[in-house]
């Protein structure tokens, strides 16, 4: 068995129920799972199966209805505990970097400024914080002063990855990172993620519909009706 300290993420009987009027949807239903430091986990499954909801819970973007969550050996949720927005933010900025299908770059800021943006709010002690080095590593050194509107979708996602990494997170959460990209770009992004996982021992939690991409991860989890199954 593994020791607790190697577990970066540990969920026990995690559930998330949405109520819409009289109807209630159990989007995540009693999910228990552990993710080790350095793992590359891919979530797959049909639309509406609860992937996004689960990943948001793991990434502290949302509070679970019931269940417990430990992050880096520290209990975050459990026993009906609800964290304030401030406390959640503190957990998030220590542990996580996020990338999304829609990149969410700020259109008024240049590539360089977008990547530097998290540092305007918080600089984690010992963080990499080297914007240009990161962008160079991601092959974006020739686009430093471009605006997001002037670069391609694949390039935008690289910028988003650089931004997610600037505060040296332990876990990179990626919800369908290639959902808006063509096959070639998707492969490129996949390779970048795999590279980060291998060379930097970055833990990656990814949702993807793309089986090829999902295969990059060492571990695959299939979601169905709010429940998770290791494949």
């Amino acid at each position: 068995m593994m020791t607790g300290s190697e577990m970066v993420l540990e969920a026990r009987e995690l559930s998330r129920v949405f109520t819409r009027g009289s109807e209630s949807i159990r989007a995540v239903n009693n999910v228990s799972l552990s993710i080790r430091r350095g793992e590359f986990v891919s979530f797959m499954g049909p639309s509406g199966s609860g992937k996004t909801t689960l990943v948001n819970l793991l990434g502290c973007l949302d509070n679970p209805t019931t269940g417990e969550l430990d992050l880096a050996g520290r209990n975050i949720f459990g026993g009906g505990k609800v964290l304030s927005e401030r406390k959640l933010t503190k957990v998030r900025r220590e542990l996580f970097g996020y990338i999304f299908q829609n990149f969410y770059l700020i259109h008024t800021l240049t590539v360089r400024e977008n990547v530097a943006l998290p540092l305007a709010f918080y600089r984690k002690p010992g963080a990499e914080a080297e914007v240009e080095k990161l962008l160079k590593m991601l092959g974006m050194e020739h686009r430093l002063d471009h605006l997001p509107g002037q670069i391609s979708g694949g390039e935008m996602q690289r910028v988003a990855i650089a931004r997610a990494l600037v505060n040296s997170p332990e876990v990179l959460l990626a919800d369908e990172p290639t959902g808006n990209l063509d096959t070639k770009r998707s492969v490129e992004i996949g390779e970048i993620l795999q590279d980060l996982n291998r060379n930097r021992a970055l833990t990656i939690v990814m949702v993807s519909h793309n089986p090829e991409l999902a295969r990059l991860g060492g571990r695959r989890i299939e979601m169905r009706d709010g429940q998770a199954y290791d494949v």
Binding site: R86, T89, N102, Y104, T108, L109, E113, P118
Partner: protein, 394 residues
Amino acid sequence: MITPFQIAYKNLLRKKVRTLLTLVGIMLSTWVLVSLFGFNRGYEKALNRDIDNMGYQLMVMAKGCPYEAATMMLQGGKGLRYMEQSMVNDISREPEVDKITPILMQAFFDPNKGESGGIAGYFGVDPASYPAMKPFFRFRSGGWFHDESAAEVVMGYEAAELEQRAVGDLTLVPEKNVRLKVVGILERTGTQDDGTIFVPLKTLQRIAGTSKITTIGISVKKDADMARLENKLYQLKDVQVVSFSQVKQTIMKLIATARVMVLSIALIAVLIAMVGVVNTVLMSVLERVQEIGILKTMGAMPGDIFRLVWTETLILCVGGGIAGIGFALLFARVTDILVRRILPYAPSGGLVAIDGRLALLTLATIVTVGLLSGLYPAWKAGRVRPLDSIRREG
């Protein structure tokens, strides 16, 4: 590398027209406000200057004569009351008195003025003491009288213009048909002195056949207790005391009414501008909910977001405020002319006085009110949750 200030500033540039309109709104209300504040002070200053130009702070008159000019206008000079010239000596013994001068107001009937005759007023002044009361008088040509009973006149600018007189010309005192020679013509002062004809006191007394005077002008020593002197003068028999500080207060009171009205207009302008600020900033928050959510996933605290949005308000208010003050300074003369049209009595000189302190005060007011209006949008932005953005993609 990038500061919250830059983020806010770049965000405002996103909707240039909207930002510009908001800035113009703030600018206009600042303009109104600073001009109004400036007017408040400038008007009082100008009034003070006018009253200082009287040369004396107290005037003693024989009772029954509310005000020399008013009397002359309404009663055709027949209602003038006289007092003994010896009173000047009595009063000059008071310790508060700095300078004192006897004056004789005299009006003569001129049958050849207007359809059925009119009044010609003369101001008999003592060549020894009167000029010292009006050190600011400047002569356009000529100078004061050659001796204390010379057959000479000094004319105010307007009086000389009306009578088409130049130095060396003659004038004629109607009724008495006494010829007097013009020896001096004053520069324009913007006060009623412009319309006055000055004659040596002794000369006028001789013409009018009196040894008395109508008025005593008193200037009070700098730190003297004016109220005490006033009270003492009230004890004198059959005289009336006019204190120009009281007159000033009354005029200021009359002006205050008009000021309240203008002030309320200014407040409405500020309010409208602030509604504009709230609208602009709130809109930009609502448009950016997703972006704000993303900032939160990057580790921005509610307070960070609050400050970010507040900074936008601050930029708008400081920018608009400075522009407004700039405009107010640039167009102070224009404002002056506008204000002059509205007011019943406008003293000479600049009415709108804007200085650095006043500008800062106005800016502080605008920024404070602006930041207060920014509170709600900023608070709202601070409460956006990261999920709000992600879910919105639909």
